[in-house]
């Protein structure tokens, strides 16, 4: 399982799983766009390169998500395939591939932002997990 949605009264919250921290980054991005619209159908389009840094890994995770949200607004597209090229010293190099939807509305749920609320990437027996709250 890449992620699961967990109850949150006002907004949307997900628990994201990954064998590694880079996988947490990829799966968190998948979770966000999966909540926004249908990204399992349709065809793939351009690849965007993203390079960002932050003071710590958790902050970097949220900024990666908010960077993708902005790019999604700018290109009027959703993203569906994510690949972390490198994640070292709180510097991220990654790619995201745009998705052209088959039909209907592109975005069904508007996400205003990924929040820093109660953010902690935790080590588990099988890898890592983190809970992220999105403002909707």
């Amino acid at each position: 399982m890449r992620y699961e949605q967990i109850p949150h009264t006002a907004d949307l919250a997900v628990k994201v799983y990954g064998k590694t921290v880079p996988e947490i980054f990829e799966n968190a991005a998948f979770a966000m766009f999966d909540l926004m619209g249908n990204i399992t159908r349709g065809s793939l389009k351009d690849t965007k390169k993203i390079e960002i840094d932050a003071p710590d890994t958790e902050t970097l995770l949220i900024e990666w998500l908010n960077e993708l949200l902005y790019l999604s607004f700018e290109t009027q597209a959703l993203f569906s395939v994510f690949c972390v090229r490198s994640l070292e010293n709180n510097k991220l190099r990654a790619t995201a591939i745009e998705q052209i939807p088959e039909s209907g509305d592109l975005i069904q749920t508007e996400i205003k932002a990924a929040t820093y609320h109660d953010l902690k990437i935790e080590k588990t027996e099988s890898g890592y997990e983190v809970t992220i709250v999105f403002d909707v």
Binding site: P7, H8, E58, E63, E110, K112, T115, Y116, D118
Partner: protein, 485 residues
């Protein structure tokens, strides 16, 4: 999620519950939740009381970390949170304590029409409003502004809209801050925020934002209602929206930069979403300059939507808006930080009052409310859910204890996911039609997420703020037509 509220409330009186400073190390003041015993049971199920305690750690906080009865779990500060910091003693401003939808707010417009005048046309009206007012996720309108024009919106707010022909001069007098808060600094706005703001003035958006045609269902104080311009049976229009993608981007930009400032200012807080900087620092001032731009954008947005509404009524009733008596009663912000003066230990201090899902409610006689309302107190507009009712309240002198703040709406009870699950087999628009409410909505799932059962009963919420003395009920309004994103 982690940090569930594990403490106990100390009862102060029937409407005030205290989280003592001993609950958590580092709390600078206690937490106070305005609620009755019944509603407290729902509140405690949620994580929100923990967020009240977290906010009590903010440097410079005075009196208490407060929450209104519509409190529910948010991020950083809970929804319904009120926090004031003393600027002179290092008080901070926190973008997460304002929220992403800066100056999300509500306006209420009266008309000379009565229910019987409107009922024969209600379907036509709702359809026309739905086609005229852009709604839905990422909705864009007919207005597309260039950089220079957008800068004008950021400084002039609702006045920009009026100058462009969307409304009249008198509308400005009936907005909080006259529809444009001073101190907006467009040089603090990122290119990204400018980009996101270009095509969205005059758009409603999605989620809990709405435009409703309502009937005044009950009057509680006749004299005040008369001053506000309403009586039983009359038609009013309520508009609930904010600063759209522009405001979200401003909050994202400044939340990111403030996370990086915690070490610089040596600030320790239990939740990164409460990242902040001293109001008096350059960084604090920059955020406030940017936040005010977003606030002004929202006032322009609601002004344009109100104008579009007037145009729809003009075309349906073949009469101009002035003769239909379509006058703005008031426009309030419920996600904002303001600098206001209060008496703290015998001295008037400039405080940075954060209201996140809370409404300013100035008392009778206050210099910053329109002359018309000097004797009644400020009109306070409390939207409920689409299937029940909304309220019009007035500010009171005793709300000084909450920095003249009161509730902002019903407050959610169920998550969106649970609401959708519970209503899977229900036809919400038909249920509403059976109750005499015509609804049009862009999003397929919005109506299910926004179903009445997902909200606290707004009547309970306003009864608590009235019981606590922090505002008084003037009128109840019932929806007959709703458009949503």
């Amino acid at each position: 999620m982690g940090h569930a509220f594990a403490g106990r409330f100390e009862k102060i009186d029937d409407y005030r519950w205290k989280i003592p400073m001993t609950y958590m190390p580092g709390m600078r003041v206690p937490g106070i939740i305005f609620s009755d015993e019944k509603m407290l049971k729902d509140i405690i199920k949620d994580n929100a009381p923990q967020q009240v305690a977290n906010a009590a750690h903010l440097p410079g906080i005075v009196r208490a970390s407060m929450a209104m009865p519509d409190i529910h779990w948010g991020y950083g500060l809970p929804i319904g949170g009120v926090v004031a910091t003393d600027i002179e003693s290092g008080g901070v401003v926190s973008p997460g304590a304002v929220g992403y939808d800066i100056n999300c707010g509500v306006r209420l417009m009266r008309t000379n029409l009565y229910e019987k005048d409107v009922m024969p046309y209600i379907k036509e009206l709702v359809t026309a409003l739905f086609s005229k007012v852009p709604t839905g996720v990422g909705s864009t309108g007919k207005i597309n502004v260039n950089y220079r024009e957008e800068k004008n919106i950021l400084v002039k707010g609702a006045e920009w809209a009026v100058r462009k022909g969307y409304g009249c001069e008198e509308d400005l007098e009936y907005c909080e801050e006259g529809g444009a808060i001073k101190g907006a600094d467009p040089s603090q706005i990122s290119d990204r925020a400018y980009q996101r703001g270009r095509s969205q003035p005059g758009t409603l958006g999605s989620g809990n934002h709405f435009l409703e045609v309502q009937v005044v269902d009950e009057i509680y104080r006749k004299e005040t209602a008369k001053v506000f311009g309403i009586e039983k049976g009359q038609i009013a229009i309520m508009i609930h929206t904010g600063s759209r993608g522009f405001g979200h981007q401003v909050c994202s930009d400044y939340s990111a930069s403030m996370v990086r400032l915690l070490a610089k200012f040596n600030i320790e807080i239990p939740d990164r979403q409460l990242s902040c900087a001293p109001v008096a620092s350059e960084e604090g001032k920059n955020y406030l300059g940017a936040m005010r731009c977003a606030a002004n954008y929202a006032w322009a947005n609601r002004q344009v939507i109100m104008h579009l509404t007037r145009e729809v009524f003009e075309s349906v009733f073949k009469e101009n808006a002035a003769s239909l008596g379509m006058r703005l009663i008031y426009d309030v912000a419920h996600n904002i930080a303001k600098i206001e003066g209060y008496n703290i230990n015998g001295k008037i201090k400039d405080l940075c009052v954060h209201r996140k899902g809370a409404t300013r409610a100035f008392p009778p006689g206050h210099k910053d409310i329109p002359r018309r309302y000097r004797e009644t107190g400020q009109p306070v507009i409390i939207p409920g859910d689409m299937g029940r009712c909304s309220y019009l309240l007035a500010g009171t002198q005793s709300a000084e204890e909450t920095f003249y703040s009161t509730c902002h709406g019903a407050g959610r009870l169920l998550s969106r996911t649970l609401a959708k699950k519970m209503t899977r087999s229900r036809e919400i628009s038909q249920e509403l039609a059976d109750k005499g409410i015509i609804v049009r909505c862009t999003g397929r799932e919005t109506l299910n997420e926004e179903v009445s059962d997902a909200y606290k009963n707004v009547t309970d919420v306003v009864n608590i703020v009235q019981g606590a003395g922090i505002s008084i009920k003037i009128a109840k309004l019932r929806p007959i037509g709703v458009i949503k994103g």
